[in-house]
Subunit: 446 residues, 2 copies
């Protein structure tokens, strides 16, 4: 972005005048420097990165993706590596280690100080996609019997290492979480007050073994910037912050988009995914759906005579089955998303199915009218009746299939997002062909 | 949630012992009270709500959806209404007014104090879905020539009204934004230091006329809890906070999910949308896609003789066009999401199309092999060759259609999310039928 407006930066790069370049970019925000570094070739990227002032290089490093962090680390000395690793926030460091092959992880772990090592191992002990992996142990804790002045002194001393001091946590002697106080409440209080006087003992916390989606839900529900994480005894282990949770929410939404198109979750970004990994994430559902599509072929087989005695029926096959598939995709996507955001609860299925029945009839009547006109002009009154009636029935049935499958999946404790557009389309197509040929053979007496 | 574990609450409701009930729930977090109130009938909900202690009732009120806030307000006296309105944060108040019919808005605006009225009107002056509608004017501003002690005094005085004091904004005499300082940096500083000494003049801000999606992007990019909003002269107007931005991100994701299934954005939650509104959001695309499907019918028409001389070709129509549609949906969804999250940039289209060509060939070879087996067992070697070759070609072409349409839409400054699964499926179906019949008539010499 900045590159295009600053031709002199381009010139400095071409001239390889790295010192002048360093001077210019040292005042940029770290994400902009990351963008610039990513436009350079690898040897030049490492060169320019090593020239950055120490504190800035640490900040810039933390903005790279784990893959690029690893590539950079390979080029640095052990001492430089140790320093960068120590400067990373613990949760980013965990993300980096999770991405690395086992051997590289071991090499890097050996470079960490014993305290950092313990921290990383502890974070790594929790299941993947759990709150434990997301939390950072950098927070400020105070005791109920301290004064506000003592607490402020603790914040001044420990606050430099903290991911956030916006929330201050109150713990007892065994580090059990008692309360969470906003920093502003401590600042606004009288310095001689006791922390206990500010407490209302109403604290919402997460378990380290909770799914990270729960962290997203809770932070949204309670409109807070951070939530404490406790073990089964209520002992404070760490905190999760809103900025990390936003990244999780985006990743989870991307997974749901991919599932909605019958793509298995990629785990890495699209840019980083290779051809074979993309192939592997897609072929499974494509092959599975072939079996669903065989039901459609079976329906055509069964009605071979109907079709060959009125070949005009074939013209409307794509129109009818696509329309059914489209309506089914629409209702399935509305359901999957409403269930995912909690707008609709599973026990409201009767009301929801009835509502979609109403919508389906309205859509079916409109589409049926359009279909009967097309059928009439293409094949006469009888075909008009067949296509119109089939369209009405297909839209209503496909709409109900679209709304029912996500509910059924949820009922059987499966992920409703499996009800992808391709799956619903394939199921609706088989049902649609059956409806079409049954109506056709009855109306046309074939 | 709490209801199910606390049978005595149920008992109190049945006994209509509202005073005892109030005593019990007064200690609950506000969102739990909201859930309880929503399970009650309207007269009882109003009754119990009015019994809540004043401060709690204000907090509970702010957690209701605008629809329910409006329903509650209708039952309250003008004085109660005025008090509740005054207690709402300005951005929530704006959300409430936006949801109301014009006349009700006017009645409520008349109840506001002149200052509050000005605030609401000012917030309402910005375009819908702009940052101006999202921002709150409640923040703490300090001057560069103040000492840290003076700044802390200002935070103590103004902090009670502030949505957030985690970031403190530095402005000049004409209220131009100079810098943003984390509260922790002010607390950690020496009380006799000047604010100017803490400043680095590197502040990232939003324009009030920016799209609110930009607020989501910027807050995620810079990992901050709040961003300042300025006018074209750089004057500080308000701030947007991470919790409001998370709600926007969720709404935008829901809109993209709906667009991905060819449903126009609902604007309200699924639960609140009526049958006619759902009908209206869906019928447009269904009718539009009928015209795309007519291309498929046209292809079958053109190859009527091919089809009637080898009716077995009809069996494979659903299998081939559904497989193509599914592969196209997969690649289109991957593209739309990668473009939306910025993982793939528009100018990387060549590399991306080549990558998807590779994926398409790998998928096509696998699916083509499966298709040739099915064709062989159903109709002999010639049909096996036709189905296998068609499947390969259809998957490759559909995959390219899926990746190309989102890029083309972006190129012409249209929303790539229009490349919904139903649209891609319908386009891929017409292309697939053409490929199938051309290959069939050549291989079978029809």
């Amino acid at each position: 972005m900045l590159l295009s407006v600053l031709p002199d930066i381009k010139e400095l790069i071409e001239k390889k005048d790295w010192y002048a370049l360093r001077g210019t970019i040292a005042k940029w925000p770290a994400p902009e420097i990351v963008d610039l570094l990513l436009t350079l070739d690898k040897p030049e990227r490492v060169l320019l990165f090593r020239l950055l002032p120490r504190q800035l290089s640490e900040e810039v490093f933390s903005y790279f993706e784990p893959e690029e962090q690893n590539a950079l680390l390979k080029e640095l000395t052990d001492e430089e590596t140790r320093q960068l690793l120590a400067s990373l926030p613990p949760d980013d460091r965990t993300a980096l280690f999770e991405e690395l092959p086992g051997q590289a992880t071991q090499r890097l772990l050996n470079l960490l100080s014993p305290e950092d090592l313990k921290e990383v191992r502890q974070l790594l002990g929790y299941p993947e996609e759990s709150v434990g992996r997301l939390m950072t142990p950098d927070y400020v804790a105070v005791r109920p019997n301290w004064t506000v002045a003592q607490a402020l002194e603790q914040i001044r001393q420990k606050g430099k290492d903290s991911e956030t001091v916006n929330m201050i946590y109150v713990v007892d002697d065994s580090w059990k979480l008692l309360d969470a106080l906003e920093l502003r409440r401590i600042i606004l209080a009288n310095p001689t007050d006791y922390i206990e006087q500010l407490m209302d003992y109403s604290v919402v916390s997460l378990s380290a073994f909770d799914d990270r989606e729960r962290a997203v839900y809770m932070i949204q529900r309670y409109d807070v910037f951070a939530l404490p994480v406790v073990d089964s005894n209520g002992v404070l282990l760490g905190i999760v912050t809103a900025d990390d949770v936003m990244d999780v929410a985006q990743e989870e939404a991307t997974e749901d988009f991919h599932k909605g198109a019958a793509v298995a979750p990629l785990k890495v970004s699209y840019r980083e995914a290779g051809i074979w990994s993309l192939y592997a994430k897609r072929i499974g559902w494509l092959i599975t759906l072939v079996f669903v599509n065989l039901a459609s072929s079976g329906v055509i087989s069964a009605f071979e005579h109907t079709l060959s005695s009125a070949i005009a029926l074939a013209f409307f096959i794509p129109l009818l089955i696509d329309s059914g598939g489209n309506a089914g995709s629409q209702s399935a996507t509305l359901m999957v998303r409403a269930l995912a955001t909690g707008e609709v609860k599973v026990d409201q299925w009767i009301r929801t199915v009835l509502k979609e029945l109403g919508v389906g009839v309205a859509l079916g009547l409109t589409m049926g009218f359009a279909g009967s006109l097309l059928g009439y002009f293409r094949g006469g009154p009888a075909i008009g009746v067949v296509v119109g009636l089939s369209m009405l029935a297909i839209i209503v049935v496909a709409n109900i299939i679209g709304v029912a499958i996500p509910f059924l999946l949820t009922k059987f404790r499966l992920d409703p997002a499996v009800a992808s557009s391709p799956l619903i389309t394939s199921v609706a197509d088989a049902a649609g062909l059956l409806i079409y040929f049954v109506i056709a053979s009855n109306v046309l007496h074939l």
